[in-house]
Symmetry: C2
Subunit: 105 residues, 2 copies
């Protein structure tokens, strides 16, 4: 179920699409221009994002506007949360180490 979201994020082009849409809605063609690959390729990436409910699309005339739907990303945050303590601990350890190794100058 949350599987679709993690799968959507597995591709750098799709992550970039979400970043672009974070600044506001954009048309399909406008989005496609930002990439080196062909327009159909981008269209398929958008389909994957649609399937994961990460974007919402709305036709306006002969254009189609895509809008970010960030809610499903919360699932990623929720999954990640129990692991955060690991790198936080590590960060604290490093800070302690620096403090100990280089008392001052």
């Amino acid at each position: 179920m949350s599987d679709d979201v993690f799968l959507a994020l597995a591709n750098p082009a799709r992550r970039r699409l979400l970043e672009l849409l974070a600044d506001g809605p954009r048309t399909a063609g406008d989005l496609a221009e930002q990439f080196d690959m062909s327009r159909p390729a981008v269209a398929e990436h958008l389909q994957v994002l649609r399937r994961a409910a990460l974007v919402h699309d709305e036709p306006v005339g002969r254009r189609r506007y895509y809008r970010l739907e960030a809610a499903p990303l919360k699932q990623v945050g929720d999954w990640l949360h129990p692991f955060e303590r690991f790198w936080r601990e590590r960060l604290r350890d490093m800070a302690d180490l620096v403090e100990k190794e280089i008392p001052d100058d």
Copy 2:
């Protein structure tokens, strides 16, 4: 570069492996027992995690212990962070709505 990490997380079996390892190091066979698939399949999933530097393995006698290496997960957290405001805003909106619709009782 951080591509490997997102790719590693795209598979539910690999996410489950990381969850299991969050409780402490485990042997390869012990991990494999937790899944319905064959032992070699789990071994290859572990290889993907190794490639993403999400686990560290250490042979002890004829066993091999796998240990979580959570640091690369921070990349996911960093990527996700700019999006958090979206569902937080949404959560606040919902809270406001509840407060307005149901003043008190």
